[in-house]
Symmetry: C2
Subunit: 413 residues, 2 copies
């Protein structure tokens, strides 16, 4: 039997009882003959508590500038380190053998992008040695080190990036992602009551859904899983039911026109007006933004009569503090009448499905569903397998419900 990588999110390791439940799952897999590597997040609200500690210190110092990201990562990396030690102790308490590793201890080296670093390499030898010695290996998710050994964190959902990277590097049979939900749903069940758990979904669909606001899996983790063909199984840590398998596209999947719908709420639209319409200006804007590691999507550019351009894009809400000084600097460099407008009263509702490639009328059905309920579409973007509409934030929940109904996503396929 092969190697399994299991990942337990923060709510699945929030206290001694849940830590033992996670440990029991790892031991069950081990005792059924698998080699087992476990990736864990920080316990419960630990990461938020650490962020609060940093805020307290900065506020006490009446500081206007954010704390250095290197120090923030130094602080946050402790969260997962606590969990790995406790999981190893729990397994030890049950008479099995385990060993815990921080990112650095398995040579999980990243780039220097503190707070959203990317994995560059993993030294698998130390893990294989311990597996061979019969141990369950526990690895801290969400973190790595720079080549100099400074702690980095992998950004939101970074533990999933660790899960998939380990799955790929170690050649895992499956990566099990244990969360507090039953799997991936046709829409967020907190908003759409009739939302249904999806049994199987392709990497591409999951990629679109993740990028569009489905919070269970981070885009990056799915990209990596697709690239290395690592099977992901998203499951509930509180029960033994099968969850959602995320895997390579199969013929059967094409019959499903729309697999799921998503709503992205934490969105800020940045519009730069009166940009000089010269070659290279857009490249300069987005390369400058990229050097600050800010993720941008939905770029739109149109050219006005007066020879100036209008460039609009969206960023995640968390990046607003970072992007403002970058854009302000760019505007002052560009000179003239160039100005930036920030809008945070928007959201994005989307439908995703590989079947769209071979079926027509999907867009029409979506636009009609929104129009029939007087929801105004501010902007539309599409890909081969998704359609997104940017609408007013206040219409978000209603729009998601309408779209879910329009495509009858609650019905099993």
């Amino acid at each position: 039997m092969g190697l399994i990588v299991q990942k337990f999110g923060g709510s699945s390791v929030a206290d001694a009882e849940r830590i033992h439940r996670a440990a029991a799952r790892a031991m069950a897999a081990r005792n059924s003959g698998h080699e087992v590597v476990v990736v864990v997040s920080a316990m419960g609200e630990t990461t938020d508590d650490l962020i609060q500690l940093a805020k307290d210190v900065c506020e006490y110092g009446q500081c206007k500038i954010p704390p250095p990201k290197r120090e923030m990562d130094q602080l946050l990396a402790t969260g997962e380190q606590v969990t790995i030690a406790l999981i190893a102790m729990a397994i030890h308490a049950q008479g099995n053998e385990a060993i815990s590793f921080t990112g650095g201890q398995i040579g999980l080296v990243t780039d220097y992008a503190f707070s959203k670093a990317r994995i560059q390499s993993i030294n698998k030898q130390r893990i294989f040695d311990q597996l061979k010695a019969g141990k369950i290996v526990i690895v801290a998710g969400f973190q790595g080190v720079t080549p100099e050994g400074d702690f980095t964190t992998l950004g939101r959902g970074g533990s999933n990036a660790t899960l998939v990277a380990l799955g790929a590097v170690l050649g895992a049979e499956v990566c099990e992602n244990y969360t507090d939900v039953d799997g991936i749903f046709t829409a967020d069940p907190r908003i759409v009551k009739k939302a249904r758990k999806i049994d199987r979904i392709s990497y591409d669909e999951m990629l679109e859904l993740s990028g569009l606001g489905a919070s269970v899996l981070q885009t990056r983790a799915v990209e990596f899983a697709k690239k290395y063909n690592v099977k992901l199984h998203v499951r509930n840590s509180q029960n033994d039911r099968p969850g959602t398998w995320i895997e390579a596209e199969t013929r059967n999947m094409e019959h499903i026109v729309v697999s799921g719908a998503a709503l992205k709420k934490d969105l800020v639209a940045v519009t730069i007006k009166e940009v000089p319409d010269k070659p290279g200006v857009a490249a300069r804007i987005f390369s400058e933004i990229a050097t600050h590691n800010i993720v941008v999507d939905d770029i739109i550019q149109t050219v006005n009569d007066n020879g100036t351009a209008f460039i609009s894009f969206t960023v995640e809400h968390g990046d607003v503090t970072d992007i403002r000084p970058v854009v302000d600097k760019l505007i002052s460099d560009l000179g003239g009448k160039t100005q930036a407008i920030y809008r945070d009263d928007l959201c994005k509702v989307s439908v995703v499905g590989v079947g769209m490639r071979s079926h027509t009328g999907v867009a029409k059905r979506m636009f009609e569903a929104l129009a029939d309920s007087s929801i105004n579409i501010e902007n539309i973007t599409t890909s081969e397998i998704k359609i997104s509409c940017i609408i007013k934030k206040e219409d978000g929940h209603r729009a998601l419900q309408l779209v879910h109904d329009a495509f009858e996503l609650e019905k099993a396929r």
Copy 2:
């Protein structure tokens, strides 16, 4: 001006306010022209909280065996890592530059004695580079790494070991140890109300006092300071008054017959009776204990008429769990009637002073003080500069008071 290493204990960094106060002290030293390295402990009760977490996990698993020490160190090392990041943020918030390092990040390599590791080397280059760049360097106390990068902790008072080791390696002008007391006292002021702060004390006296229960400084830290002639200044982080200087012995010190008195309460006496009186047995017993990294003091051996020996020694209370299986194994190996008795109703009161070397009558004065108040002395041990009496635990506080009075330690010299 030279380099200063400052160390702040847990109570001096317990909240945002105190973290800023510690940061302010570091910045004041920096701004007066010194290069500054800061060593910090875990905040307030953090280490105890982490130990409680481990206990919760082990108790939930109804486990009888203690958690693996490697995992315990993995857990505990997070405490100091949190503090270093926060101190760096506080300094940053005040507009100065700082960078934090874990033990591993400055190559503080130790042996493999998890939970009481010894420092083997420190890579000072990274610290010097950052000092040269104008930064205040913050280092996590109490921790190091094995050559493989596994976290180790340096045992009780380990942050002081880090302080002195850095002072030695970096060639510091002085190591300032900030605590919540004004310095070293002639006796524990919580027990002896008239206890007086000592202005200057020699390494040897401090060594004896530390070994005898004065809790401010760990024996190991003082040993190291003496070896590398590092000046220590124990100060109160809450005020600017000078504290106690610990330094090489001067001629003036010889005039002081007794510098201080101490009481060691957390003591367990182990007596092994009916030990076969053959060459090598004592060596075997203590080498076996040493391999378990248990510190032993006050060894007494006497030989009985029947050709068996009686070996008695004391260990710290915290080591009892570790020593019982070691001694039990030894006894069963030795066979015969050999048996062990554990006594924890004892304590040790001591007086220390370099002047004892040239003054007589110190022992007489001490024994009389105890005898006059009907305190029975179970055992006496002496060195060139100290006299210790093992007495009943219940007499401890009274004995310390009596001895302090007998030598008039409350009077300034």
